[in-house]
Structures are given as structure tokens and as C-alpha cells.
């Protein structure tokens, strides 16, 4: 019996939210360092190599938090991530708090009903998360300055951010599955 089978057998018949010990980025300091590294990669490192390709890591990170952390921990880290984003740009206050908290709450509410050990469910949730996040940004932008030009440019940038975000999200999902995917079968 391997480690994951042992975990499943000890938590049967209906193991609801038993955090697998093998999942990556679980300790507080580790999570904080990963968060800082992701933001540094998004704001500084990636743009210095690819100045015209925006990278968006945050929604995928929030989904990862929602799936692998306890609800209180996931919400706390989400609020911290949102505060980093809000004080790093000129976005209206509360925009990222609202979109990211909503996203993490939905993931927490759904996580017991989704099989996280496969890539497909991850990719669908990540896609929906990015659509929600980017739509909220575009809606706010068009509310501030209604203009077709803005909307068209926002949609073009949207597509690139969606693609780079999905690629990043799938890498994170594959890594999570490889480190504790079997144990992520909660139902």
C-alpha cells in the first residue's frame, strides 16, 4: 500500500477535506515566498524578457489556494494577494479584493464535488477563473471610460493574458497532481 492509498483508507468512508501531506507550498513561509516569487515573476522578471507578452499568474494561484488550503487559510492568502495587486497598480480600490475573494469562495464551495486528480477539471476551473477575473477588469475599465477603442484593445490584451495564464495554471496543476494528485480525490 503506497502513501496515497494509506491516506484514502484511513479517511474512508467519506473523507471530506483531509489535507494531503504531500501537496506543494503548504507552510505559511513557503506560501508567502511562493507568492512573492510569483508576483516578482509577473511584474519584473517575465516583462524584462518578453516586454509585449503579459503574464497573469494570480487567478491560477488563487484556484490552487482554494483547492489545496483550508478555507480560512485560502481566504487569508487571497486577501493578501489582492492587497499586493491593488497597491501595485492604479486599479479602483476593491476591484481585486472583490474578484479574487469571489473566485476563492466559489472554488472552496465546489472543491468537494470535483475530481482534482485529473488535468481536465483543473483546466476548466482555471479557464472559468481567468474569464471571471479578466471580465471584471474589462467591465471596470469600460465603466471608467466608455470607449470602443478601449474595449477592443482590452480584448486583444485579454486573449494574450488568458493564454499565458492558462499555460501557467496548467503547469501549476500538473505539478500539484504529481505531488499529491491521488490524495486530491475527496469524494
Amino acid at each position: 500500500m503506497n502513501k496515497h492509498e494509506a491516506h484514502l483508507s484511513t479517511t474512508s468512508p467519506c473523507p471530506r477535506w483531509q489535507k494531503p501531506a504531500t501537496l506543494p507550498f503548504q507552510g505559511s513561509w513557503q506560501t508567502f515566498c511562493v507568492l512573492l516569487s510569483l508576483l516578482l515573476m509577473q511584474f519584473s522578471i517575465f516583462p524584462s524578457f518578453f516586454p509585449h507578452i503579459p503574464l497573469e499568474t494570480v487567478p491560477a494561484w488563487i484556484i490552487f489556494l482554494g483547492v489545496t488550503h483550508t478555507p480560512s487559510s485560502a481566504i487569508t492568502w487571497t486577501l493578501l494577494t489582492a492587497s499586493f495587486l491593488e497597491t501595485h497598480s492604479s486599479s479602483p480600490r476593491g476591484l481585486y479584493f472583490l474578484t479574487l475573494t469571489t473566485l476563492v469562495c466559489v472554488v472552496i464551495a465546489l472543491r468537494d464535488h470535483i475530481s482534482w486528480k485529473y488535468t481536465f477539471p483543473w483546466s476548466i476551473v482555471i479557464l472559468c477563473g481567468y474569464l471571471w477575473f479578466l471580465s471584471a477588469e474589462s467591465f471596470t475599465l469600460s465603466a471608467l471610460t466608455p470607449s470602443y477603442e478601449n474595449l477592443i484593445t482590452a480584448l486583444t490584451a485579454w486573449t494574450t493574458r488568458l493564454i499565458t495564464g492558462l499555460i501557467f495554471g496548467l503547469i501549476l496543476a500538473r505539478y500539484t497532481i504529481s505531488r499529491g494528485g491521488e490524495a486530491l480525490e475527496y469524494r
Binding site: L36, S48, H88, S90, S91, G94, L95, L98
Partner: protein, 288 residues
Amino acid sequence: MSPRLKIISLCAAFTLPLILFSSSMQPWTVEPVMGGVQEFLYPMERLWHSTSSWVKSSIHHYVHLSKAAEENTDLKNKIRDLEAAMMDYSHQEQEANRLRKLLNFTQRQTSEALPAEVVNHSRNTPFLSLRISRGSQDSLDVGMPATTPQGIVGKVLRTGLYHSDILLLDDNNFYLDVLIERTRTRGVLKGISQNRCRLLLHRRSEVRIGDTIITSGLVGAFPKGLPVGRVIKISYESDNVSQMITIEPWVNPEALEELLILKAADPQVENIIEANNREWIHRITGKL
């Protein structure tokens, strides 16, 4: 956690950010708690910026050394021309000051300019800002103008200990009182993203494509006469009363490496502080 507490906390998680978001469409400016989080990220950004700049400049110096001699001759010629122009300008300045005195005009205040290095552009969001290497340690304050010799870049949005964020001229939350240099027509400029600004004027106001826009110096901390941008498009509104002027700023923030912060206080804010005493404003801004 009990089910009731769980429902209450979930509702709070949804509603509190919603209230925060709908209460104002302005970005965070003075925030003792919120600003603190950036103090963790900024040293890493600064380290990355210094390292990458050092690598880039080393490559530039050693790989492109062959062009240095040619560039040096060009620059020497340019310096000679500029020195001649400077002589002419200093004569004109003295003459203008003499005439201002004769006419009893108020003397224009010159504000101290602090050079700052651009550490980061937040490119991956539609809500752009610049991060610079000067903060409250260098006596920077919210609202101070950020400029280059070419024109205005924006104004200080928020300050950290060793860094500040700049609200760019084309940001949707940027407003500035301006003049059309040729006709002296006054208006309020608003950023509309994509390195463009908008100015709404009366339909009969005379404007031409290519006209230069400058600051009026009447509202805010921006001194009079700083170049802002040029008119690139004129369109008429459906109300038959106004015309919408599209302006392209002189400065493209994407290419900026350094800028100047003018240590100029907003005269209106100074008047309010004087009338209500300094402790009051410090209490409001959370600086006590």
C-alpha cells in the same frame, strides 16, 4: 467552524469587498496598512532591476563600443549647439524677469526637482502605473508632479518608504487643468488609456491638429507651462455643443528610465492645511 459561522463569513467575504469596490472608483492613495505589503516586494523588484540593468548596460557598453567614437563626435556637436542656445535663452529669461518686475507680475515659483529611476512598469494590467526609486524618505508626497524635459508623465499616487507609484497621464483617474498654448483656451484633460487623453471643449473653441497642450498652473501642484501633449484628433459630440479633442502625450511611459519629481505642494491643499492646522490633516492621512 459551525455552519452558521461559515455562512456568515462567506457572506462577509462577498459583501465587504463589494462595498469597498462600489464606494469609490479611485485607487488606494494613503494607506498605512495596505502600503506596508509592498515593502516586502519592493526590495526584490529593486534587486532584479539593478541586476538586469547592470547586465544590459554591460552588454551595451562592450558590444556596441564600435559606435562610441561616432556617437561622441555627434554629441560634442550637439553640446556646442545647445550651449549657444542656452546663452540665448538666459538672455531672454533675464529680459522676461525684468519685464515681469516692471509690470508688477508675480514671480513664478521654481520647485526643487528630484531625479528618480523607474524600477518597474506594471504592464500586465489595464490599470498602469510606474514604480520609482524614491519614497517618503526623500520627502515625496502624494500629488507631486512627475515630469521629464519632454513633458509631464503623471503624478505621485502613493508613497512607500523607499519607493513611490506614479499615476500616469493616460490613466482613467487622471485629471489636469490645461491650456491650448496657441489660443490660451482652458479645459480639463482626462486620461483615457492607450497613451491618449481627452479634452472636452466648447464647439466654437478654436483648435487645430498639432496644437500643443500645456499645464495651466491654476489647479493642483503642476506649475504653469509644462508641456503635456499635442492634439491628434478632433471630433464633434452628438449634443452639438462640445467637441472632443484627443491628445497624445509627449512622453511615452513605456520607454522611460528616469524622470523628475517636482517637490511642489498643491497650493489649495496648503491653504486647507493652513486654515485647519497641520495636526488635522496628519490625522486624516494617518501620518501621526
